[in-house]
Symmetry: D2
Subunit: 284 residues, 4 copies
């Protein structure tokens, strides 16, 4: 079923739901989902609505324009309009660890993710056989301090060439530059292997072991200029005990990482995430 998804944010005020739902009703939209949220601290209104396109009285190409004239400009809204077809195009960045990659590709294989994966980029060759077994192009771009700027240019060129909509860092062990990130605002999803904001940075499982925590976690977030500080999309945890070594924590944590990252991808694909400031509204 082809559908439209409308994401709105504006100053909170009376009548927003009425006006949006009137618009959809007027043009015979069969609403599939409608969710709204008001952040009272900052007086902002957020809304997500989806409806079937088939019976809708406005042509796909005209919807944004019509909505802009009839609703959006009157209420001073920012809005995004998405369609579920064609499928979004996702690039994966990986290094050596395979657990997140396998988890994503197995969901892709079984049709659980409505996505295209035109390419995988890696700074190591280790995972090339995995990627190619799924018949996805694999680009090997090793990075070191001396070539980082050029490699990022090459990466961006590849992403543009493959018309990539968003990027998933599936345990990619390199920090992306500000310049790179600015090309993809709220379009780069990272999985950090700790329960943020605890254990920012490198080797969080070892830090968790040293601190003697009883629960470890993983955090999927949009990447921003500040390391591990972007808007959090999803988190999950697992219990550990005194007899678990740092290596155990790594292994227990990997099961959490892959589930969290795949959930974040799913929310992103379904346009269920509204990022604002350093937070996310997620209508799951």
């Amino acid at each position: 079923m082809e559908k439209a998804i409308l994401i709105i944010q504006c100053k909170d005020q009376k009548g927003i739901v009425a006006k949006v739902s009137d618009f959809l009703y007027k043009y015979q939209g069969n609403i599939l989902e409608i969710d709204q949220h008001v952040d009272k601290e900052i007086g902002m209104f957020f809304m997500r609505a989806s409806w079937e396109l088939e019976s809708f009285a406005i042509k796909k190409e005209q919807i944004a324009k019509t909505f802009e004239i009839e609703v959006s400009r009157l209420l001073d809204m920012k809005f995004d309009l998405y369609f579920n077809t064609p499928k979004p195009r996702m690039a994966l960045f990986v290094s050596k660890l395979s657990h997140c990659l396998f988890d994503i590709l197995s969901r892709y294989y079984s049709g659980q993710l409505e996505v295209e994966i035109p390419l995988v980029i890696s700074n190591h060759l280790d995972l090339k056989p995995v990627v190619t077994s799924f018949r996805i192009p694999f680009y090997y771009l090793p990075v070191d301090k001396s070539n980082k700027e050029n490699v990022e240019k090459e990466q961006i060129a590849l992403l543009k060439q493959h018309k990539v909509d968003f990027i998933v860092l599936a345990r990619y062990m390199q920090i992306l530059s500000e310049r790179f990130i600015q090309h993809f605002p709220n379009q780069v999803i990272n999985i950090h292997h700790s329960f943020l904001p605890a254990f920012v940075g490198a080797k969080p499982y070892h830090a968790a072991y040293e601190r003697g925590v009883k629960i470890i976690g993983a955090t999927a977030h949009y990447v921003t200029e500040e390391l591990d500080a972007g808007p959090i999309i999803e988190q999950e945890v697992a219990r550990v005990r005194h007899h678990n070594s740092p290596a155990d924590l790594v292994q227990i944590g990997q099961d959490v990482e892959k589930v969290v990252l795949s959930k974040a991808i799913k929310y992103h694909l379904e346009r269920k995430i509204l990022a604002y400031g350093n937070k996310t509204v997620i209508f799951y």
Copy 2:
């Protein structure tokens, strides 16, 4: 803040959200929460909306009537209108176990529950000191096979006299008769000490121990004629291990029971539960 809460169910059709939100907008309702759900299997639409009463252009007493004329009858809706004042009146039924009782009363004490508790009814005297320390009237009504019908009449009389809106069975170890339950449809909340539908009936922790499960649970549900089979409101679980005795399971389970029951009470008080058929929609 005084507020109104509207609960709607009707056949799914286009324009419901538009008409309800138009109604609220037309009379200057400042929407606080709006949630909707469509059960596609049965083609039913459910909605909950709350708004501030102060600035609303219709008088409290006229809202139901006006909504009935302007919206409800056009769409063939069933609806309920609630206000958060005066507070709902809850009766507690208990027997000998104190954990759920204490949990509810401590929340009541700290102002966490917007409720009046005009009375507690028990078939044992054990918990009388606890109840009276909270300055709540305690009625001791012992039950056995011979007097059950009469005791239930007495209970119902007490509940009417105290203008009780709903009843919570906080580990009350008696089965209520069909006749009793019919007086309070979806107004009697029970906590069953298993993860339903597993381990219906008596001694579920012992049954769980015998079966060797690795997780136990508790279930809050509305009471219906069929034992432990009413609409589920909330469930939660806890992990157990081979070294846990049946007594351990009881104790671990009690922590789950009290949290689950208090959540169910809170949802009920906030009118967040829409029961239909044998299910619940819960807009938390």
Copy 3:
């Protein structure tokens, strides 16, 4: 590191730990793990001990015999002695669903599971490409009522030929006969897609949806003659809400299934499971 693992069960009595640990100390065993459990209801004692083989004063081949003479027969013990090398040999049975298969194979690929997988058997061809991409032999043995007995004979022949130690039913959609199971007592692990004992049998997610539960689960257990009633190894749950369709439950549940099944495999491989009666002691 090569190590020995000793699993003991006997009538509970004084001195067991002393005698076992004396034995290990006398022959210079460096204990790695030692765990014990007493089931007081039935008066049985269970123990698991592991130690390094390298410095042990008894030759690998002589340990069982020596322990039998010096300890076991004096205390009327049943014991099993295992070594971590060579790796156990596991057969996978699958049908059409790929999520558990991928999860197991990706752990196998990354070296997380200390196991050999000499073959995969399936009653459908769908997953052949997945299996062969991991370079594992795939046997296609379609089953229907008419050929079930013969197919099982063929399966058993294949398992013997490949020297299989245990079998994992990774969402294999066929019920194994008593005859088959008797060949592999507590050596067949199944993943059932519900929180047993709730929703035994077919289509548990649909049954869970009908019942309106708020939490779903999955259960890994050893297969016995009675359907879904064998000793439970591991369980896990996930929260669902009213807006989740049966299809959502399937998808949410698959994430639980694969984690639960992989944990059960890991416990089995590490000889951490002691099954007795219809229960398991698990020293994790």
Copy 4:
């Protein structure tokens, strides 16, 4: 049943389990529980054993001495010997929030905690009626910068006078001085209302709200000189969503706090916690 509990730590070496279990066997100790842990990073061995006193061949008063001579000094052990009678004596420190206090007192009331509570100390009067309804002496000792040192002296005097074994800070909103803490090493349990090490210090729920986390938590730990940095005993978490206000987080978190704190108290009472360095081994 009267029982003895032995807690051991020493350098890891062969034969420890053998020697300890020989000692218990030689004097006809009926072992109830025996657990051991080796921290391989630092080469330390930890053990906890409990046994029935009734049939034990050494008199209660002689056990420590005999063990010291026959086992401990040969292996250069540190050990503690406890008995489950008389019950340990616990002081509660509170301020204004009642949820942890009620949870502890209701467990105490129902006999779930094997403890005496000779007094409650508070810097506010709010909770006096709650405490006195449980017939426990309540001491009101208001604190400000000017009198802190003297109040702590008074507190210590009261604790000595009431022969207090350990202290629980049940949301006591004052920081104890180093001097105070040194009187009670690993004998002061605090509940911090965050998932440590995230959100150390004041107002962690507000900090969690600002950061936009999807899960909040609580941490019970022994108090050391460094704020919120002592050995962690127990942690638990709860899921939150974008629509939860800071006030919601406080309320959701309180349910976690009280469960975590009560678990920590239980582990402490049962001598299941071995604190070393900045970590805990917990044999639950």
